[in-house]
């Protein structure tokens, strides 16, 4: 079932994962970002809110998308892991964790006053919207249809990260959304760009 048509998008994801991994590793090293502090701060809040956001997003996927055909057998298991879990986690890192880290750095990591908290939340949300739009406009389907859907979805995904100043809940929510989309609506034109079709042969 590893047909050429089905594996083309998987090859693209490998390029995307590598590009994001190289960039984020370079960013962390160059800015000496304290990843451990970022991942341990308010982690229970982040995870709890991430679970709530995950539930909202699964319901949204099920309600918005009709069930579609999907590959069978081992290739489908691979797709759940590759196009679902890994692609969702990488998206979560680039589209929420990275702008969150930039915003926190802009505020020197200090969110000790109300004005700083409000400012940090506004800056984070703005950066999330900017990078979500630029990323999705890289795909032809969103240059035609607009980025309203992805912006709404990634705002829901990013709320746990913004509230807790910790990205793990957002990465979890993005991952859960992708897995739900792969299993329920494999050929979706919204949740898993680029749009992919199932080879019936």
């Amino acid at each position: 079932m590893f047909s050429a048509a089905c594996s083309t998008h998987d090859l693209y994801y490998a390029v995307y994962f590598a590009a994001v991994a190289i960039f984020l590793t370079t960013y962390v090293q160059a800015t000496r970002l304290d990843v451990r502090a970022l991942l341990t701060r308010n982690w229970r809040w982040s995870l709890g809110l991430g679970l709530i956001a995950s539930a909202v997003l699964v319901v949204a996927v099920l309600n918005r998308e009709d069930a579609t055909p999907h590959p069978e057998g081992l290739y489908f298991v691979f797709e759940i892991a590759w196009r679902g879990a890994l692609y969702g986690a990488v998206d979560g890192l680039l589209l929420t964790a990275f702008p969150l880290a930039v915003a926190l750095s802009l505020f020197g990591g200090r969110l000790d006053t109300l004005i700083r908290k409000v400012g940090y939340a506004a800056v984070t949300l703005g950066l999330v919207w900017i990078i979500t739009a630029t990323y999705h406009l890289g795909y032809e389907q969103f240059r035609d249809d607009g980025v309203g859907g992805p912006e709404t979805g990634n705002t829901i995904i990013s709320v746990p990260a913004i509230v807790s100043a910790n990205p793990i809940g957002a990465v979890l929510a993005h991952t859960v959304m992708h897995v739900a989309a792969v299993t329920h609506a494999y050929v979706t034109d919204l949740y898993l760009p680029p749009q992919t079709f199932v080879d019936d042969e």
Partner: protein, 45 residues
Amino acid sequence: MSSTTTLHVSDYAIHGAAAKHLAWFSVGAAIAFLTPFVFSSLLDP
């Protein structure tokens, strides 16, 4: 006089750090756009 000088140096340091982080964000946004723009269409069957 020296305290004024110190304050200016500190201001430059803060502005420089902010500019550095925003520059990194711009690079990230560029990669976020260019990766799908270039490669998703190249690999389109």
